[in-house]
Amino acid sequence: MNCLEFRRRLLADPLATDDQLHGHEGTCPTCANFARDARAQEIQLRNMLKQTKPPPGLADRIQLAARFEQRSLLQRRGWYAVAASMLVAISISMLSLWNTAIERRDLALTQSVLHHIDDEAHHLREAHAIPAARVDWVFRRFGARLAEDIGRVNFAAECLMRHKNGVHLVMPGKMGPITVFFMPGEMTDKALEIESARFHGKIVPTDWGSVAVIGEQGEPLQGLGQRLAAAVSWPAHGSAESVALRRGGGSDVDLAVGVGVGVFAGVGVAQQKNG
C-alpha cells in the first residue's frame, strides 16, 4: 500500500481497524502523523454531532401523533361504517316505502273491484243471457272486439272503473254469478288475489290494463281471467278510452249517480242491459 492509497482509505473511514492501514502507518511516519490528525478530527466531528440532543419530548410527540392518526383512522372507519349503515337503512326504507306504495296501489285496486260489485250488486241477479251481438257492441265501444266466443253473458255494460271506463260483464258460474271487469289503463305488475267473505277472484295483468274475475267463494276460476283476456282483442293502451269517451254522449248511454266509496269513483257511467 502506498501513501496515496493509505490516505484515500483512511479518509474514507478514519476509525477503521484495518491491518493494511496499520501496517503502512507503522512504516511511514508522515502517514502516521496524517492518520493521527485525521482520527483526532474525526473524533471531534463525531463528538460535535453526537452532543446534539433532540428537542425534549420529541419521541412523545411522535408517539402521540401516531396514536392520533390511528384514532383518526379508526374514527374515519367508524364514520364510514355508520354512513354505510345509514345508506343501507335508507335504501331498505326507500325500498320498503316503494313496496308499500305498490302494495297500497294494488290493495286500492282490489278494493275498488269489490266495491264496484257491491255497489252494482243488482247486476248479479241478471239471470238471462244477452245476445252475443250486444256483448260485441259493448266491446266495440272501446275499439275492442271479441276474437272468440266467451260463453254466456247475462250482463254487459260500459262502466266507470276507478279512473277510466271499462267493460262490466256478469256471467253465470257454478256457485253463482261471475263478475268480469275489463279495466283499460289499470296497470299492475302481477296477478292480484281478491278475497272477501263472499267473493274470491283474481286481477290478471295485460299489456293494455287488467282483467278482474270475481266469483262466489268456491267458484272454480282457474285460468278464466287469462282465457277472457286472450279472447278479447283490445286496442293499444289509450285509444280505447278515446273511443269510449267519443261515444259518451250517445243516446243509449245513461248517466247515473253512483254510490261508490273510498277510492271508487263518485260518478259512474253505466250502460244498462239491452232490452
Binding site: R8, A12, Q41, E42, Q44, K50, T52, K53, L58, I62
Partner: protein, 167 residues
Amino acid sequence: MTKLRSNFDTLVNALSPELFRFALGLCHNPDQAEDLVQETFMRGWRSRADLRDAKAARAWLYTILRNEHARLYERQRPDVRDPHELPEIAVRGYDTSTEAFVTRRALARLDADYRDPLLLQVIGGFSCREIGEMLDLKTNTVLTRLFRARKALRDQLSEPAQQEARP
C-alpha cells in the same frame, strides 16, 4: 396492534435522537429537523407492519428522512458560502465552541453528494456497503465520496484563519 405499537414506540425512543441529528446535519434548522423526524416516523407508522426487522427499519427510516428532506427542503437550502450567514440555531447540547462552529460551517458547505454519505457513516454508523444500498451507489463510489467529503472538510478546517480574516 399492541405488539406493533410497542415495537414502534421502541423504535421511536431508540432512533429519534440520531435521526434528529441526521436531519439537523441535512437542513441545519432544528424546527425543520424535528418536522423531518416526525414525518419520517409517521411514514414508518403507516408501514409499521413492515418494520419488524429493526435493522432494516433503521436503514429504511434514514432513507425516508433523506428523501423527505430532498423533497421538502433541498431547494430551500440556505446559501452558506458566507460564514456570517449560517443560521442561528439553538439546540440543547449544541457545541458552541469555535471549533464546532467552524466544523458545522464546513459540513454545511459540503455538496449533498458528499455530505449525505458522511452523515450516514458518522451519525448512522452504516458501512460503505450499507450506504451504497441506501443511496443506490456502488461501494467504491461511496468510498470515493467519503474520501472527498473528509478531504474537503480538512481543507476548510486547515485554513480557518484565512477565512476569519476575510472582510
